[in-house]
Symmetry: C2
Subunit: 244 residues, 2 copies
Amino acid sequence: MTETHPAPARFPVTVDVVALTVRDGGLNVLLITRLIDPFRGRLALPGGFILAGEELLEAAGRELAEETGVGHHPGHLEQLGSYGPKGRDPRGDVLTVAHLLLAPDFPVLAAGSDAEHAAWYPVRHVLNGDLQLAFDHERILTDAVERAKSKLEYSPLAAAFCGDEFTIAQLRAVYEAVWGTRLDPRNFHRKATGTPDFLQDTGRMTTGDAGRPAALFRLAAAARPAAGQPTRAVLNPPLMRPRD
Amino acid sequence: MTETHPAPARFPVTVDVVALTVRDGGLNVLLITRLIDPFRGRLALPGGFILAGEELLEAAGRELAEETGVGHHPGHLEQLGSYGPKGRDPRGDVLTVAHLLLAPDFPVLAAGSDAEHAAWYPVRHVLNGDLQLAFDHERILTDAVERAKSKLEYSPLAAAFCGDEFTIAQLRAVYEAVWGTRLDPRNFHRKATGTPDFLQDTGRMTTGDAGRPAALFRLAAAARPAAGQPTRAVLNPPLMRPRD
DNA sequence: GCAAAAGTGTTGGGGGTACACCCATGT
DNA sequence: ACATGGGTGTACCCCCAACACTTTTGC
């Protein structure tokens, strides 16, 4: 924040949201189909220009709500990082602040004909190159996935992918989908239930599924993210992902 | 990157740099004394407006060079996060992208009378409240220190605080200063030298100090950060900091 | 010789992996 | 009865904390 004498350059600033969820055993990302140039018809991350008087996280939440129809975003929203401003938009320099949302598999708004259509897409189809994204959104997605992978190791954020109540097996499925690995169900159960300040037993059980009913848990109060506070590292030692 | 119909708001964008080093056994931060309002006479992070055509990291490196006299920055520079734009500058909405520099203890330029004076200050004096910073720079510093602490656990970035060649004890002093703890010299030695792809023995030794001479190491080629690439997690399992 | 710092050996324990085994439900 | 998934017990092993001990310098 030094004063430099030349007039400060002003930049258009956008917020983009990488919304991730677990679906069909894999990691999925919410993408919209662009209706206008540049990159018309191409898939892109939801996002848009920040408005005067808005904070970054507010703007990200608003853009997400506008394009998915979710009243207020479920799950965990945090800042990922900023990109640009040079050479990422053919129309000129635009700075974007990317955000990361980890959420349960919520239904997206069925867009009308004049709105951009938002839907879930498997992350691997994008990173394989089967689906091409607009702008530098593939790079942003890559960074987002890497952030999500490492966050699961030490934070309780895996629960953000589940609903309010979940079984140990559902929680394990999150780790397996994000990391792309298999975890031993028995050892995972011990680690998850044995970690203090992580899970709280609701006393209720699943019913109707095949096999023995499973206990339902929710996030312990101590592990729930306080608004704006950094997520506590409750998993210590961390739950380590198998080496690649 | 959705197109919204209202004209996109444009914001002045600054880059700030949290330059950290280890000095006198403690973590220090590079601060400038502001010569103009707002916050005239107050300490602040070095930084300034991003120029048209610049990338974020470029701008951060330039601002640092301008205010410290270092030709090109030593150590490791990375993006920390963005803050704002609302309510952090009394003159209006300004978005800032904070950066983190981990560097050896380099001498800062002795500023002339018309330049802002840059110098090292112990981080604990700032976070104690003994020194007050301008804008929201204390919050940014807090985030930067937390990022530095956690990066040391799994990345080889502690070496960024040392010069090109260093002893195991100097490397340990970095961990102790950043984490604010004491580590067992013997166990640290084994962990550091035993980790593959971390340290490379130069074959040379220190001389002249008290006690037995120590072997000099440098960062192994595999651990050196490739430009723009994410830092590899060479320390696996991580070097764990003692619980607070 | 003595202090100081570098570096090695050894031992005990916590937590991880691997896997055998038992439990409770749907069909 | 059988399949399916939930949950527990246990053996082994690696790595870390703790600390005794040796090595090599300066004074």
